[in-house]
C-alpha cells in the first residue's frame, strides 16, 4: 500500500470524537433545547465539566465574575465556545498518551498548540473580533495532522523530522517530499471526519501561508501570526525551531498596532501558563 492510501485508511480508522461531543452537537442543533439540557449533557462527564469551569475562570476568557456552574459558563461563553472547549479537552486527552518518539514529545507538541490557541484568542480579542468562538479551538488544533503521522506512522515521521533538521527546511516541506502529503492536508481530512467548523478547518489547512486562494481570511491569518509568535516565544515544541517570516499581506490587511506584541506579552505568558496547567498537568 502506498503512503497516501495508507494515510487515507488511517483517517478512516482514526478515533471518532467521544460520545459527549456528538450528544452535545445533537442537543445544540435542536432549537428547542434549553441551556439546562446542554448543561445536563456536560455534567454527565464530570472530569470535562470540572475542566470547563477551570478554563472558563482562567484569564484566557477575561470574565470578571467567577463562574460557579456549567449553567453560568454556558450563559457567559455561549454554546459554541463551551462545545469547542470540550472538543479541545477531549482531543488533548485522546492523544496525550500517544507513543513518544525521541524526536517528538506529545506534551511539548500540545504546549505549542495551547500557546497558539491562547495567542490566537488574545489577538482576536485585541482586534475586537465579535465572534471569537472558534479562535481558541482553531489555534489548538492547527497542527492536528502531525499527530496522525506521529501516532500511526512514527518511523516515517522520524525520517521527516530528521530530514527537516538536516536540510533546514520546514516540516511541511519535508512531509511533502518524504510522505507526499502534508500535515495541513491530513489535518483537514481529520477536520472533515470530525465535522469541525469550516473556519477551523480552513485554519488547519491554510495556517502556514495564512491565505486562502491568495486572500486573507481573518481567523486563518491570526492563527498564522499566532503560530509564529508561539515559536518566537519558544512556548512548547512543534517539531522544529524554525521561525518563518509572517505573510506581509496579513500585516497589511489586519492593520495591527506596532506595539501589539509588547502589549500582549504579559497576557500571553500568563494565559499560556494557566492553560497548560489546566489542559495538561491535572
Amino acid at each position: 500500500m502506498d503512503i497516501i492510501n495508507k494515510i487515507l485508511q488511517i483517517i478512516t480508522d482514526f478515533p471518532t470524537l467521544p460520545t459527549i461531543y456528538s450528544t452535545l452537537s445533537d442537543v445544540m442543533a435542536n432549537p428547542r433545547s434549553t441551556q439546562q439540557e446542554v448543561a445536563s449533557v456536560i455534567m454527565t462527564d464530570q472530569a470535562a465539566a470540572s475542566k470547563v469551569l477551570r478554563v472558563a475562570n482562567s484569564p484566557v476568557f477575561g470574565l470578571i465574575s467567577r463562574i460557579e456552574s456549567i449553567n453560568q459558563a454556558i450563559f457567559f461563553l455561549g454554546f459554541e465556545e463551551i462545545k469547542n472547549l470540550i472538543i479541545a479537552l477531549k482531543i488533548i486527552d485522546l492523544f496525550k498518551k500517544s507513543k513518544i518518539s525521541d524526536q517528538f514529545n506529545p506534551v511539548e507538541f500540545w504546549k505549542h498548540s495551547i500557546a497558539v490557541g491562547v495567542i490566537t484568542r488574545a489577538i482576536g480579542s485585541y482586534m475586537g473580533v465579535s465572534e471569537l468562538d472558534n479562535y481558541f479551538l482553531a489555534g489548538i488544533l492547527h497542527d492536528i495532522g502531525k499527530l496522525l503521522f506521529i501516532r500511526y506512522m512514527e518511523n516515517e515521521y522520524v525520517d521527516v523530522l530528521n530530514y527537516s533538521i538536516d536540510n533546514n527546511v520546514t516540516i511541511r516541506e519535508a512531509e511533502s517530499r518524504i510522505l507526499g502529503i502534508t500535515h495541513t492536508t491530513a489535518g483537514d481530512l481529520i477536520g472533515e471526519k470530525w465535522k469541525l467548523p469550516y473556519s477551523v478547518r480552513n485554519a488547519i489547512k491554510y495556517h502556514t501561508s495564512g491565505l486562502i486562494d491568495g486572500k486573507v481570511d481573518e481567523l486563518t491569518a491570526v492563527v498564522h501570526i499566532a503560530n509564529i509568535t508561539a515559536r518566537v516565544l519558544e512556548l512548547g515544541y512543534p517539531g522544529d525551531r524554525l521561525i518563518h517570516q509572517p505573510n506581509m499581506l496579513i500585516w497589511e490587511k489586519l492593520a495591527l498596532p506596532d506595539n501589539l506584541f509588547s502589549n500582549l506579552y504579559n497576557k500571553i505568558i500568563n494565559d499560556y501558563n494557566q492553560s497548560v496547567n489546566i489542559f495538561l498537568l491535572r
Binding site: 518566537v232 516565544l233 519558544e234 521561525i243 506581509m248 500585516w251 506596532d258 506595539n259 506579552y265 504579559n266
Partner: protein, 115 residues
C-alpha cells in the same frame, strides 16, 4: 520583574531594565540608566516604540544585564533568517529576545548562576 512600556508612559526616574538598542545592534542607552521625560523626544527620533523598565518590585535578580540580553539576542538570531520589515515585526523579535533573556535568568537561578 521587568515591564515593557510605551515611551509615552515614561516617567522621571524610571530605570531601564534592558538597554535601548538601535536596529544595527548599537546600544543607545545602557541598562540601569535612569529615564526622564526628556528621553521621550529622543527615543521618538530613533523610532523606538517601547522600553523595558524595572518593575516596582524589582530586585537585583530581576535585572536583565547587557550580557544576558546579548546572549538572548544571539540565541534568537540563530533561529531566524529574515530581517524585520516593519515596526510590528521588530516588536515581535523584541519580545522573543526578552522571553529568552527571562529563560536564561530562570535557568541561572535554578543552577545557582548569579549574574
Amino acid at each position: 520583574m521587568s515591564e515593557i512600556i510605551q515611551i509615552e508612559n515614561i516617567e522621571d526616574n524610571m530605570i531601564l531594565a534592558e538597554p535601548v538598542v538601535s536596529s544595527f545592534g548599537q546600544i543607545l542607552i545602557p541598562a540601569g540608566s535612569e529615564l526622564y521625560e526628556s528621553h521621550k523626544r529622543i527615543l521618538k527620533t530613533w523610532n523606538i516604540k517601547v522600553v523595558v523598565i524595572k518593575g516596582k518590585d524589582s530586585d537585583q535578580t530581576g535585572e536583565i544585564s547587557e550580557e544576558i540580553i546579548k546572549l538572548a539576542r544571539n540565541r534568537f538570531i540563530e533561529r531566524i533568517n529574515w530581517e524585520p520589515r516593519n515596526a510590528i515585526e521588530k516588536d515581535l523579535i523584541n519580545i522573543g529576545i526578552i522571553k529568552i533573556a527571562h529563560s536564561i535568568i530562570e535557568k541561572g537561578k535554578l543552577s545557582g548562576y548569579n549574574k
